[in-house]
């Protein structure tokens, strides 16, 4: 594996009983990329992410984060990952600050100044001492990103990060992702079915349907090779066939 590869899927497969939810995923994500993982509902995006962060077992194959197997070297691998899977499910009866302190205690070397830094970064300074139960979905999403950033991960995994957000919330999250990608040198793995948004955010994509990877590569190269079409057109051509 190349030194600059952050994520490597190696024939990763997920089976439940006789059903194959994700089949034989094999691809790599180089450092610094914003990778969009696209597919219709039920295509296997969230299952792939759950395998990637060790929430569900990989049935066959493996996934490596910075060269460490998520199934066999979990602690070493997950150290490099910050993630929000599905919803930012934080403790609603605690304040934003208390939530961040809670997660900071679970990794070594996170000082108070780092918590303040990520709060500033996600723009929650004014409301950080309020209970999370009083937050809007957009604010919870930003707090979720803050907890994911606490331990300075090199890979940020976001599952449908703009799902359920109003246009203003979507804009804020997109800007935050672009800011983090350019300033903090973080590799992103973002799943979504919002194609226009993914075209704006990502420089690399993978399209999954029925648990199988249909296509993976550089956005411009893929859309260019198909005759300078939009990502949306490419997606519908692929998924229709």
């Amino acid at each position: 594996m190349d030194q600059t590869t952050v994520v490597q899927f190696h024939h990763a497969t997920k089976k439940v009983g006789r059903r194959t939810l994700v089949s034989d995923l094999t691809f790599e994500i180089p450092a610094g990329e914003v990778f969009g993982f696209l597919g219709p509902n039920g295509a296997g995006k969230t299952t792939t992410i759950r395998m990637m962060v060790g929430l569900v077992k990989i049935s066959e194959g493996d996934i490596f984060i910075k060269g460490c197997s998520i199934s066999r070297q979990f602690k070493q691998a997950i150290r490099h990952v910050g993630a929000i899977v599905e919803n930012p499910d934080l403790y609603k009866y605690l304040t934003g600050w208390q939530n961040l302190k809670h997660y900071a205690r679970m990794a070594s070397g996170i000082a108070k100044s780092r918590i303040e830094e990520v709060v500033e970064l996600v723009g929650l300074k004014d409301r950080i001492h309020d209970r999370v139960g009083t937050y809007s979905l957009g604010m919870r999403q930003r707090l979720g990103i803050a907890q994911a950033l606490l331990h300075r991960p090199s890979l940020l995994v976001l599952d449908e990060p703009t799902n359920g957000l109003d246009p203003q919330g979507m804009k804020e999250i997109k800007e935050l992702i672009l800011q983090l990608a350019s300033e903090k040198d973080i590799t992103f793995f973002i799943s979504s079915h919002l194609l226009h948004e993914m075209q704006q955010l990502c420089n690399r994509i993978g399209i999954i349907q029925n648990g199988r990877l249909l296509m993976e590569g550089d956005v411009r190269e893929l859309t260019g090779a198909a005759g300078d079409i939009s990502l949306e057109q490419l997606y519908f051509e692929l998924t229709r066939s």
């Binding site: 759950r50 962060v53 060790g54 929430l55 569900v56 077992k57 979990f74 602690k75 070493q76 997950i78 150290r79 990952v81 910050g82 993630a83 899977v85 599905e86 919803n87 499910d89 934080l90 403790y91 009866y93 605690l94 208390q98 809670h102 997660y103 205690r105 679970m106 990794a107 907890q147 994911a148 331990h151």
Partner: protein, 257 residues
């Protein structure tokens, strides 16, 4: 591990469960004692002194634990899984066994706090209604105050063991259950059935419900060391089996919420 335990305790105190449970204990003690008349043939208790209340009402403490422990673990294990809040801690460089270990350690702290509070509350409520008295009555004998306090504390300390094993039993259910109600109801139904089987001599020595109610009696007042050893052995066997099962299931659990 200490940081994880700190997190679990922080949540325990923040959710106010402890305070609600403590209030319930006081209310039940008051309801039981404010009309209590020593010697009433309709009542099983016979004590006359307030200082005898904690030692003679330990069955109440056991009943509280049988109800409170499933609520605690149903929330910290099953409900966290269901609400999705178990997900984020599992995305940290922490092994699942460490996380479950921290939850179990927090449960032990909870048991100790609840038991200590019960003793203090029972002394206070008992003294309020019956007066302190000049000795501790237990098993047909009267002990000096100092001896009575020692016996009370020893009995409660001994009961922590079966309560902790019961906690492991509930944990085994909690890691399997899909929602908090299922954890609580399953634990309570199984324990109620087991309590009703206490009268069956062949079953009782092997029953966790029996041990939770009577474990201490083999040690205090007139100790029967053979019986004490047998009861400890049974509980230790339960503890090992239930802990191995719970940790294994938690490690293998697919986090789907």
């Amino acid at each position: 591990m200490m940081n994880l335990l700190g997190n679990e305790l922080y949540k325990l105190f923040k959710t106010r469960k402890l305070y609600v449970f403590a209030a319930i204990m006081i209310i039940v003690l008051v309801l039981n004692l404010f009309r209590y008349v020593p010697g009433d043939p309709m009542v099983v208790w016979t004590f006359k002194h307030g200082q005898s209340v904690p030692l003679n009402t330990l069955d109440l403490l056991t009943q509280f634990m049988i109800i409170f422990i499933p609520i605690l673990l149903g929330d910290s294990v099953t409900n966290e899984y269901r609400r999705g809040t178990l997900k984020l801690p599992l995305l940290r460089p922490v092994h699942r066994s460490e996380l479950l270990g921290a939850k179990l350690a927090a449960m032990l702290v909870f048991i100790v706090i609840m038991a200590a509070f019960y003793v203090a509350a029972a002394y206070a409520v008992g003294t309020y209604y019956l007066g302190w008295g000049d000795g501790t009555e237990y098993a047909g004998r009267v002990f000096s105050t100092a001896e009575g306090i020692r016996l009370t504390l020893a009995a409660v300390a001994l009961l922590l063991f079966p309560y902790a094993v019961y906690g492991l039993f509930v944990t085994a259910i909690a890691v399997l259950a899909g929602n908090m109600s299922l954890t609580i109801i399953s634990a309570l139904v199984i324990m109620t059935i087991a309590l009703n089987l206490n009268a069956v001599e062949a079953v009782a020595p092997w029953s966790l419900a029996y041990q939770a109610a009577y474990y201490h009696e083999a040690f205090i007042s007139d100790p029967d060391w053979n019986l004490a050893l047998q009861r400890t052995g049974v509980l230790a066997l339960y503890a090992v089996i239930l802990a191995l099962f719970s940790f294994r299931m938690f490690r293998k659990k697919e986090i789907l919420y």
